[in-house]
């Protein structure tokens, strides 16, 4: 049986919800989330670690070959888990402005 996430929907902070929304919108790197959410590094990374611990998101390093082809260092990217997606849906009801702050379409159109 899967472990129940430690954060229930109602307890998710606005910052955490904002990060989930940014991830859902396609901003999957730490710096891009910071840029989109307007949050500083010292807030975003701990929050992402916390979300990862609660199994709402998961992270992975991209392949070295991709980074080499683009002549840059490899990046760690983040993805929403099914539990994270469900939590985000609940959070959108609680924070109706969330989607206006980071609309999903905007990311998809980029």
């Amino acid at each position: 049986m899967a472990r129940e996430p430690r954060f229930a929907e109602a307890k998710l902070s606005h910052t955490a919800a904002l990060i989930l929304q940014a991830l859902d919108a396609g901003f999957i790197y730490g710096f891009s989330i910071m840029e989109m959410a307007g949050l500083p590094s010292g807030t975003v990374y701990p929050a992402m670690r916390r979300l990862e611990r609660d199994e709402l998101i998961r992270s992975q390093w991209e392949r070295q070959s991709i980074a080499d082809a683009e002549q840059r260092p490899p990046r760690k990217y983040y993805k929403l888990t099914p539990a994270g997606r469900a939590t985000l849906e609940a959070s959108r009801k609680r924070y109706p402005l969330l989607e206006r702050l980071i609309p999903s379409e905007e990311a998809k159109s980029v």
């Binding site: 307890k11 606005h14 910052t15 955490a16 710096f31 670690r49 840059r72 490899p74």
Partner: protein, 518 residues
């Protein structure tokens, strides 16, 4: 081409990230360094996309690097928080039992390490034989002061006795002692308490001499001396081949013929060595101690630890004497502990209430299983505390081997009594503050009401169980209608409140965010 200013800024940024990474706990350090370093490239690429040095861009990159310190601080705090006892264990019955078990282990380990305690425990089985009394003058108020004159001893010994079938005499003098085979570097002699004792003393006591001399013939008429165990350990490093060593004892010489067993420590007088001499020599000095062995008739008359003895001497005058059982003089550490324990139990109501408070009727709180758990917990605490008290009092009493055995016994008695008294007080107070449902300590005391309204309304302190089971009401001023503390059982509808607050506190502690995001 990178300008020197830009190059310096890049080095500074990497340096900042490196320093920040050093603050991260070691297992996560590499991972975080890689992520920051990787993101730094992208931050720089985004803020200053190949347009040379720009103060604004560098400030943004620096802000990113400084943010890494916040990350590192979070990780460090999170690491410390995860090492701390979990919330589930904090204040719980298990934590209490674990702490007591740890204390017991520490006290027992200390008892094993301290040589004085080890000797006390290991040699305790050797006891002075039964039916022995110390005869003292009734006028002597102190058992440890010699009060019998040699002529009295001689007269008793020569007369046919009805109640005694053996006598031994000893008197203790302070004498300079020097070993013959080992030269003292400073040329000084140490002063020992030497007991000039009857040759039959140890036979009368029923104590076997340890490490006895094998070949006594080669020493001629040099008198034998028996070392006390304390001196044997201190001066001869517990050498088992000590017998045969010749000592300069006062004006003459004496050869060591063995080591006195521990049971002899209970005899009055601070004796370092027992010089066994014929009675003619022993009784040549001043007052001393007389040990007598009771006949069967004498033992039947020994109805108490101390009995009065009247000796009719030849001059038609009576000597009033006191016969003190040697068993009473040499209580073992266990006897002292038991005595102090009883005293502490008797004294306990004087320093705290022995009531555990009222447990009102409630289907959940007062179920048989809960009651059994509560009493089992109380019993376990007491069961763990008693050996803690025993070993800690032994540690205190026998840590210093220089103090006499009689003083150690007093230290043990006083320390056992004190520790027992305050331990029992703590046990009762702790038990009164335990939730009857989950046995967790109640916390968050809140004062309710005003003392001036005691007769119109309740005033006192309210404490809550963090599991949401109970509230404890402790009256500020006991009254006829609220004399002792009471438990208020909360129904299950309250649980969500406590569970939510518990999670919220944890969330805030770890992440630094408000749980509701505001």
């Amino acid at each position: 081409m990178t300008s020197p200013t830009e190059w310096i800024a890049r080095v500074c940024h990497i340096g900042l990230l490196r320093v920040a990474s050093l603050l991260v706990p070691l297992p996560q350090r590499t991972e975080w360094w890689h992520e920051w370093h990787s993101e730094l490239w992208h931050v720089r690429h985004a803020c200053a996309p190949g347009c040379g040095f720009s103060m604004r861009a560098e400030a943004e990159v620096t802000a990113f690097c400084l943010g890494a310190f916040q990350d590192a601080l979070y990780l460090r705090l999170h690491s410390i928080a995860s090492r701390a006892p979990s919330r589930a264990l904090r204040g719980s019955a298990a934590q209490c039992i674990l702490c007591l078990a740890a204390m017991l282990t520490a006290c027992y380990a200390l008892a094993l390490l301290l040589p004085g305690v080890r000797a006390e425990r290991s040699l305790a089985p050797i006891q002075i034989g039964p039916g022995l009394v110390l005869i003292q003058d009734v006028a002597s108020s102190d058992d440890s002061s010699p009060s019998v004159l040699p002529k009295q001893f001689r007269a008793w010994k020569e007369r046919k006795q009805q109640y005694f079938d053996g006598f031994a005499f000893y008197r203790v003098t302070e004498e300079p002692v020097r070993r013959e085979s080992v030269s003292n570097a400073s040329g000084e002699e140490s002063g020992w308490g030497v007991a000039h004792a009857s040759e039959n003393l140890f036979a009368l006591l029923g104590l076997p001499v340890q490490f006895p001399e094998q070949d006594a013939g080669s020493f001629g008429d040099i008198p034998g001396v028996i070392l006390s165990e304390r001196k044997w350990k201190r001066e001869f490093q517990a050498n088992p081949h000590v017998a045969g060593t010749v000592l300069h004892l006062g004006p003459g010489k004496a050869r060591i013929v063995g080591v006195a067993p521990d049971g002899s420590r209970g005899l009055p007088g601070n004796v370092d060595a027992w010089l066994l001499e014929p009675d003619e020599k022993t009784v040549a000095g001043g007052a001393g101690f007389v040990i007598a062995h009771l006949t069967a008739m004498g033992q039947s008359e020994m109805y108490a630890a101390k009995v009065h003895i009247t000796e009719h001497n030849s001059g038609n005058s009576d000597d009033d004497l006191l016969g003190i059982s040697l068993d009473a003089l040499t209580p073992g550490s266990w006897t002292l502990f038991s005595f102090a324990l009883v005293l502490a139990i008797l004294a306990l109501p004087a320093i705290t209430s022995v009531s555990l408070g009222e447990y009102s009727e409630n289907s959940e709180g007062t179920s048989l299983l809960r009651t059994i758990c509560r009493w089992s917990f109380l019993s376990t605490k007491i069961a763990l505390l008693l050996p803690i008290v025993y070993f800690s009092s032994l540690d205190l009493a026998y840590a210093n081997t220089a103090i006499p055995a009689s003083s150690s016994a007093y230290v043990q008695l006083v320390s056992t009594f004190s520790i027992c008294l305050f331990s029992f007080r703590w046990v009762l107070q702790d038990q009164r503050k335990r939730c009857p449902v989950c046995l967790r300590r109640v916390c968050n005391p809140a004062h309710v009401g005003q003392a001036s309204r005691t007769f119109l309304a309740w005033n006192g302190t309210e404490l809550m169980c963090m599991g949401g089971h109970t509230l404890l009401h402790v009256p500020g001023l006991p009254t006829s209608w609220f004399s002792t503390q009471r438990w208020l059982y909360l129904d299950t509808s309250w649980r969500f409140l406590f569970a939510a607050s518990g999670s919220a506190i944890e969330s805030e502690t770890i992440s630094g965010f408000s749980p509701n995001g505001l």
